[in-house]
Assembly symmetry: none
């Protein structure tokens, strides 16, 4: 544990209070035109607006001003892990994204099918973007590969992408990609950057040689490149740091995976809509102190550039909000893991609106929840990495620092 | 390069977008009376006020709350260099301020003429503040000194101040001032704090002994002290870090010098007024991606305590602004390097107003550009060291951080 975690952990007390961290993925938005509303401001959100009366509002930088966070850094920051100090490898994230239950010693790799010519030189780094069903077929072929002493998982992802996981003992992952990032040259030889990774390199050489033989007759995906070779970073355990029984309610595998990675219990359920997810919280209310609730579709529609659909998802969250409010959480935080303005069709760097509702909040003037009102809120401009400490403080779970 | 530069550099893409960073030196001000306007708020600035409709406003701490920055730290921060981590030595700053073209290996020293008595004890640390023409005469005398193996430059600055630059090979600059900071004692002996500086100390001893002989008959300036012994700190190169062809348009030598120090091209010109400086930008528009434009006189009048004259300079910038706006930069930032309130007649620690105009800005409610409106802007409270990352993000030059 690093300094701040250690301090928080030392100050943390378990007082049985209840916390809900409601995350709308990519919540932050932009006006389409000067003078216009953002997605959140355009959405009709009477419940959230009413909640501002007993809440403190602010804007939060997720990683650092100007940085557009990926899902990994965005969630790490929200959970209180400095996203520049702590990183989740891309292979691990890919595995989490497809719902693979990664074990601490697994080596996870994101792979691309590619096309090579008779000399082994890459001619297409994405194998003509083969459709997912072609990916699945070739993954079936690759599953034939067996190497003594290691368990191998090959999992389709999408189009030309698939995941490879090696499960064995003493496998390091300090190994650069073998993707040369250009065509006209062969994939790079595998190279261990430390002694612990030498065994992994030997396994990857064997696996890759067999894979090439098996794929040879299956152009355009007649070879593959291995990237983002990584392991579970062994992050400090969230429930231990904060001394809270902690649960995640999410629909998409990625967010269940990131939660699992920090030791948050993932509640299995069949919920799809915000209201259904909130019902899952209700059903499990007594079993946990802290609930992380993840709503995906705000981000999906933001990335699609669909302003109205994103606003509509926010409205559906607002309509369902009484389910959570009726549980009377001591602290309810509503925020995002980054902005995804429909105007930009991508994750963006804009600070994310935050509302923290608690009896201990310094209530402000705003009467609606939106980026503009958050800019004048009493939380001020904060950083995502500090939100958990605020949550702990407002639930009276954090003692005094120093005498 | 340190971590954050490395991250920004890795995420940076060159997409050909155009950026103007317009700096009014010492822009931030204070009301003369409670309820009154600041200099910026008193100035009639219809163009800047109109620009707020498609901009995001905020207030920025230049170094750290309460720190009143000098020109060096103020500009380093603005260029994205942490002004606490990176420092420009005072000898180097003095050399830049007089327009001396410092080479990477030069040792630069700011010197004071002083008065010593028959025993060599200092009686006046500033030699009776001799007028600049007397300074020039004595500098001419000192230029006679020659030492084999090193090229020596002596340059007048102002009144009792002059600059000394040693150009040679293997000269360190880890040497404390020989100014004892008191009278009644002799100047301190030169001392090398590392092995690389021993050669420099030997040269300084020789030079100083000869200087004292030559000055002996020229009281009150019959000796001198050497201070701020320093070299080019070898800062990361701005155009490489940000992947932008970068140019500076400035009138005063100091700001050209600081720009040159980070590798920004300095455009030579005969401009004096803001309008003339903006025309220089226009003439060079196709040659560069990033323009740093420096307006000096806001600071000069602030330091003079001339509230109206400072406001008038701001008005002249506003009147000329259409020259820049017509170039349609993708991002236009208007800010200062620190506050210089006429009320205080000095650089101050007050956060500096910032306006960032871009299609990607989160447009806010303010309809004028001033300290009070900036306090409720959607940029929120930021830090100068983060402005370049924001500029890069808003010009879509910064990729995603993490997956």
């Amino acid at each position: 544990m690093v300094d701040k975690f250690k301090l928080i952990n030392e100050m943390a007390v378990d007082n049985g209070s209840k916390i809900v961290l409601l995350l709308m993925d990519g919540l932050g938005g932009l006006p389409l035109e000067p003078g216009g509303p953002t997605e959140l401001e355009a959405a009709k959100t009477p419940n959230m607006d009413a909640l501002t009366a007993r809440a403190s509002l602010g804007l939060s930088d997720v990683v650092s001003p100007g940085f557009s966070p990926g899902s990994g850094p965005g969630h790490l920051a929200l959970f209180g892990y400095d996203p520049i100090q702590f990183a989740i490898g891309r292979g691990v994230l890919e595995a989490l994204g497809i719902g693979f239950h990664l074990q601490p010693e697994d080596v996870a790799i994101r792979c691309n099918f590619c096309t090579v010519d008779a000399n082994g030189n890459i001619t297409d780094r994405r194998a003509g973007r083969i459709p997912t069903e072609e990916c699945v077929k070739r993954v079936e072929i690759l599953r034939q590969i067996e190497i003594p002493g290691v368990k191998i998982f090959v999992e389709p992802v999408k189009e030309y992408r698939f995941g490879l996981i090696l499960r064995g003992e003493g496998l390091g992952a300090n190994i650069p990609d073998n993707d040369p990032q250009q065509t006209g040259v062969p994939p790079l030889p595998f190279q261990a950057l430390d002694a612990q990774s030498e065994k992994t390199v030997e396994l990857l050489r064997q696996w890759w040689a067999q894979a090439n033989k098996l794929l040879a007759d299956h152009p355009p995906a007649n070879s593959c490149t291995l990237r983002g070779i990584s392991k579970d970073p062994g992050l400090p355990r969230f429930p231990e740091v904060y001394k809270m029984r902690s649960a995640a309610v999410a629909v998409y595998p990625m967010y269940k995976g990131v939660s699992r990675l920090v030791g948050i219990d993932v509640i299995e359920h069949k919920a799809e809509t915000p209201a259904e997810e909130f019902e899952v919280v209700k059903q499990n209310w007594d079993q946990y102190d802290f609930f992380f609730v993840h709503i995906k579709k705000t981000d999906s529609y933001g990335e699609d550039g669909n302003f109205d659909a994103k606003a509509h998802v926010i409205e559906s969250v607002d309509q369902a909000l009484p389910i959570l409010l009726d549980l009377k959480p001591d602290v309810l935080v509503i925020t995002g893991d980054h902005s995804s303005p429909a105007k930009l069709k991508r994750h963006s760097w804009h600070p994310v609106p935050v509302m923290l509702a608690a009896d201990t909040a310094r209530f402000g003037k705003p009467t609606s929840f939106g980026e503009t009102s958050c800019a004048t809120g009493t939380l001020g401009k904060i950083q995502h990495v500090d939100i958990m400490a605020l949550v702990m403080a407002h639930s009276m779970r954090l003692g005094k620092y120093g005498a």
